[in-house]
């Protein structure tokens, strides 16, 4: 466990010292600030606009961090050859992969918490009520980031950072359109197309399950059972991806 935490801490430190993160948080702050201004220009639903833009900013920044730092988690270590000295230590490859993942989870969590605090401050300063649904939405954004990070990590165990980023973005988009895959499967005349689309529907992550931003912005809470199920689904999916990443990384040669 000491080795895993050492790698996780180093991953955390690496990202903290990377200035890009500050830019992203600044961007989120700007977006939230603009929501207040935008709200004053619209008649009614001012609170909803602030909530909508705030949640969207948190989601966007969390996913950007998850994708662009996630794809470098392993591939960058291989490209820079830092992996040689790490794996020459008494640390297994699985411990290394887990350490890198935990480090990034820490980064995303800290960023989401900072952005949530800024978001809540924005709502409070605007004089609007703070709904419990907003916390639920942010928690599911965090779960979605866990899945996206695991996708990025899986790709980064066998391909370059650029290719991994493209594939992760692709899967992220598909993940939000999985219900369409089911519709296509149902409407398809060809049995092969039906089977392929149904297979893809079950294989691809259903990220819409984790997206409750719309209803949360209106202050509508999610049933606890649904929240727990959605969280369980995301965590399980991320776990399976991590397992696949570990299996692939075990077989790699450097």
């Amino acid at each position: 466990m000491q080795s895993v935490m050492a790698v996780a801490k180093n991953t955390f430190r690496e990202t903290i010292r990377d200035k890009i993160l500050y830019n992203l948080v600044f961007f989120a702050l700007l977006l939230m600030g603009s929501s207040v201004l935008l709200g004053t220009l619209t008649i009614g639903e001012h609170a909803r606009i602030v909530n909508d833009l705030g949640l969207a900013a948190i989601n966007l920044v969390a996913v950007i961090i998850a994708i662009f730092l996630g794809v470098g988690l392993v591939s960058r270590e291989i490209e820079r050859r830092t992996i040689y000295t790490i794996l020459a230590r008494p640390i297994t490859r699985i411990q290394f992969v887990l350490g890198r993942y935990i480090g990034l989870v820490g980064i995303v969590t800290v960023n989401v918490v900072i952005m949530l605090a800024m978001f809540l401050a924005t709502i409070w300063l605007s004089g609007f009520p703070i709904h419990a649904a907003l916390f639920q939405a942010v928690q599911l954004i965090l779960v979605e980031s866990l899945v996206v990070m695991a996708i990025a990590l899986l790709f980064s165990t066998f391909s370059s950072a650029t290719l991994s980023a493209s594939m992760t973005i692709g899967l992220y988009i598909v993940g939000h359109l999985t219900s369409d895959l089911k519709v296509i499967a149902e409407k398809s005349a060809s049995q092969v197309a039906k089977a392929v689309m149904t297979g893809l529907y079950y294989m691809c992550p259903n990220l819409e399950v984790l997206n409750i931003k719309g209803q949360a912005a209106s202050g509508m809470s999610l049933a606890i059972k649904t929240q727990v199920l959605a969280t369980g689904y995301g965590v399980l999916y991320a776990g399976l991806l991590l397992l696949a990443a570990c299996l692939i990384f075990q077989r790699r040669e450097f």
């Binding site: 080795s3 050492a6 790698v7 180093n10 000295t85 230590r89 297994t92 450097f254």
Partner: protein, 310 residues
């Protein structure tokens, strides 16, 4: 027990696609490194030295053959606690300071926080970087990076230290520092296995050497034995008051004669003609200045073997 045992090691890289050709980088490589010795692993660029080292550390898998480090099969993670490694042209986490960097590697080696706290300053001092302990590695020169790399290989006080081209790219002073460090490690009873193509370094500090060419071991043994076996035992005779080319026996026996004024340098092929030549010089009223047996160098052995191998 031997620190490293390699028997009939073969490594073939299998391509991803069937139409690509497989390439065999190591063929039937066998070598043994005794505990407590400095072993120089010699070979041209591309001979397979780095591949061998990567197999030792489990970064690559052997296609066939037996590889053991400190009695454990290669790639066994627990054995890594007793092994230190510095790769060729290493890149380190340049956002870390020297102190953070060594602490990180100490934690990876499962050292206690207390031990790391006392070990890191001691090591930084040993590699001459105590002044730079709070400096980020991105501000380090190449020589400093090599020294911090050596420090990370030693942070957990390993029994076996594997160094891939530790002197490459260093200036003469830097090379001397690395040589001294390797010698001091042997004095502490450590085994050092390092690859290089700088023969003078090997000759100066190694107990044993192995020569690798095109993925095959050409020879292995103690430096003096290899040089003794293969080296040309020529003899240099220097004398005054004689013109070498004018003395028939000298002209007949010498491999080469260099004349500078009245001083003459005669290069003889071996001991057997020495007495005859010395008598001829004396008879020609020459005065003997020196007789120096010319011991073969490791470079001669290396070149000779590499040429023979084609």
């Amino acid at each position: 027990m031997d620190a490293i045992v390699i028997e009939r090691l073969t490594k073939t890289f299998t391509p991803m696609w069937p139409w690509q050709k497989a390439s065999t980088v190591l063929t039937d490589v066998s070598l043994r490194v005794r505990q407590g010795e400095i072993f120089g692993f010699l070979g041209h660029n591309g001979a397979g030295k780095t591949t061998t080292m990567k197999i030792l550390l489990g970064l690559l898998r052997a296609t066939s053959g037996k590889v053991e480090l400190l009695g454990a099969p290669a790639g066994e993670v627990d054995a890594h606690a007793r092994i230190g490694y510095l790769p060729e042209s290493p890149y380190f986490y340049d956002y870390l300071t020297a102190e953070e960097f060594l602490t990180f590697y100490g934690k990876l080696a499962k050292l206690s926080a207390g031990f790391i706290r006392s070990r890191v300053p001691e090591l930084l001092k040993r590699v001459g970087l105590d002044e730079a302990r709070h400096r980020q590695l991105r501000k380090f020169s190449k020589g400093m990076l090599q020294r911090i790399g050596l420090a990370q290989a030693m942070v957990h006080d390993p029994e076996l230290i594997i160094l891939d081209e530790p002197m490459s790219g260093l200036d003469p002073m830097g090379r001397k520092e690395v040589r001294d460090l390797i010698l001091s490690l042997r004095d502490q009873g450590k085994t050092v296995f390092f690859s290089t193509h700088i023969l003078s370094d090997v000759e100066m500090i190694c107990d044993s050497v192995g020569i690798l060419a095109r993925g095959r071991m050409l020879s292995q043994g103690r430096v003096e034995d290899l040089v003794g076996e293969h080296g040309a035992h020529s003899i240099e005779v220097v004398c005054d008051g004689v013109v070498g080319d004018e003395v028939p026996i000298v002209k007949q026996c010498a491999l080469r004669i260099l004349q500078k004024g009245s001083r003459c340098l005669i290069m003889l092929p071996g001991q057997e003609v020495l007495e005859e030549v010395l008598s001829a010089v004396r008879n020609a009223k020459g005065r003997l200045v020196s007789v120096v047996p010319n011991r073969g160098s490791l470079e001669e052995v290396f070149v000779e073997q590499s040429v023979q191998r084609g």
